[in-house]
């Protein structure tokens, strides 16, 4: 039986051959460019967003602003665009039967798809981070960054903290990937899975502003999109990061378990 690495590599190659992949990656690259371009042609800055008032003082403030902005729907959408499609597209093309009658077990194909969807989310987030950083430096220069605690960190330290923030941001993003993949397996329909995952993400954010439900906030997947801000305090606050790790696992692990079990047992009738 071929190694998981080979099956995973082919999942990536299939992603690279599809337009939808570039739609998400394109958005991840375009948004920071548009933001930086707007700073060039407009006066003022987004004062009501954390780090917003520093975007003209240091290019390092731009990635954090975009992480906050992107958590509402942009990154959930980018992640589910591929994760929601990665199994449903096989249903749509009728190709599940084609790959499941070769010498590779279903479990291996499932794991390869999970890894490919996660890889894509990681690449999109990294691309956004790098482009935002470079565009930010180009527009506002490489200067020390004012943290959420009001202290100032050197630009080298600032880049390091932003890199760490991106990694923490990956955790809730992987939660979204798991949910989109579950919907992809269950609905057999790409659009339903993408929209469904995005709706779940929006509804979770809605819960936090409903009266009486505020106490749920620390345990919502979408709240963990703010956990990285712990890195941009002095001293670094690890509590939200640790909580993000287990709260995200609480969403991702059951979603993947149900998706796996369904994928392993399902009747492949289409195509």
């Amino acid at each position: 039986m071929p190694a998981l690495r080979i099956v995973y590599a082919w999942e990536l190659r299939k992603l690279l051959a599809q337009k939808r992949t570039y739609l998400g990656l394109g958005a991840a690259v375009l948004v920071p460019l548009v933001f930086a371009g707007a700073l060039l042609v407009q006066n003022g800055q987004p004062n009501d967003v954390a780090f917003g008032r520093y975007v003209r003082q240091s290019g390092l403030a731009i990635p954090p602003v975009l992480l906050i902005f992107g958590s509402i729907w942009l990154f959930p959408l980018i992640a589910s665009l591929v994760a929601g499609d990665i199994v449903a597209a096989e249903d749509h093309n009728g190709t599940l039967k084609t790959i499941l009658t070769r010498s590779t077990d279903r479990s291996r194909i499932f794991v390869a798809k999970v890894l490919a969807a996660a890889t894509y989310a990681f690449v999109a987030l990294t691309a956004m981070g790098v482009v935002a950083l470079l565009a930010g430096i180009a527009v506002s220069g490489l200067h020390p960054l004012v943290t959420l605690s009001g202290t100032t960190v050197s630009s080298a330290k600032g880049i390091e903290l932003i890199a760490a923030s991106l990694l923490v941001y990956m955790m809730p993003l992987l939660g979204i990937v798991a949910i989109a993949l579950l919907l992809s397996v269950l609905t057999h329909n790409s659009a339903a899975a993408v929209v469904g995952a995005l709706m779940i993400s929006l509804i979770l954010q809605l819960v936090t502003i409903l009266p009486g439900l505020g106490s749920l906030q620390p345990y919502l997947l979408t709240t963990q999109f703010n956990a990285w801000q712990g890195f941009l305090r002095t001293p670094v606050d690890y509590a939200p990061v640790v909580r993000a790790a287990w709260v995200c696992a609480l969403y991702a692990v059951p979603a993947l378990a149900v998706a796996f079990s369904s994928f392993m047992r399902r009747d492949v009738t289409g195509g």
């Binding site: 039986m1 051959a17 039967k97 084609t98 790959i99 499941l100 070769r102 590779t104 009738t269 195509g271």
Partner: protein, 327 residues
Amino acid sequence: MSDAGAPPVQARGLVKQYDDVTAVAGVDLTVERGDVYGYLGPNGAGKTTVLRMLLGLIRPTSGEARLFGRDPLVEGARALDGVAGFVEAPRFYPYLSGRKNLEMLAALDGHGAAGRIDAALDIVEMADRQKHRVGGYSHGMRQRLGVAAALLRDPKLLLLDEPATGLDPAGMRDMRALVARLSSEGTTVLLSSHLMPEVEELCNRVAIVRTGRIVYEGDITSLRARAGSHWRLRTTEDERARRVVEAQRGITAVAHDPDTPSAPGALRFEGEEAAVGELSIALVEAGLGLLELTPVRATLEDVFFTLTEDGAAVPPSSPADSDAVAA
């Protein structure tokens, strides 16, 4: 576990129930090494569902299927070692070229499958279109690519679901020639079909299925023997002719012939050649002009229709009789 002597295909009591529809109602099937086995039935008889169960794509409601002694539900992809084929039309990634599709499938196969890509493309005559995206392929080209994809696995058992469907006459001829060639090289073939002539041309054994159950199972020669024959007679005077025929010794089952609507008075009957010879003399001696006296052999297709259409009795030799059917 694999058993060196196990038959390529062995299914016992396969049942597939979808809510209140029974797609497959207790199918027993054994394909021996070297067989070209025809699984024949009209559309909707559950042929594809059986093939899907054999390949482990869907779970039987009850019963079990083994390929070379291995159950795909228990052993997963390992049970498909040496097995290749497709169910319904073969499907590929439309955004990849034909060759890239094969390269991916070869990667999922391992065992040197990648080294067989060029040869497989040559066999199905798709080498010149290999660089084009499958999205632009015609149905026939996908069908050819499906066969190429199966050949990558260097199969000992080939499962083909209506392989000639949608092909033009030349494509059908090529497909049949290929099956015949693979069979002569030692590949066991199980092919489903709704075309009796195709099965008659290619297969040595046949199972005829109707609404999810097997109504005939055996070799083609025995099936041909059950086909039987009768005679058709047209004369210048229908009424008198019938009296002469009925009086003739050795002639039985005299009836109006429903197959010749243009000659409403035509008769059909059964009898040995000698008796028919005597009958012809008797007719002439009675002053009747002979317009037609022909032996009519029932074709295998007639047998097929008799077995698979409404009102057909299930023949006593059928295995479906003895096995309980969970319907």
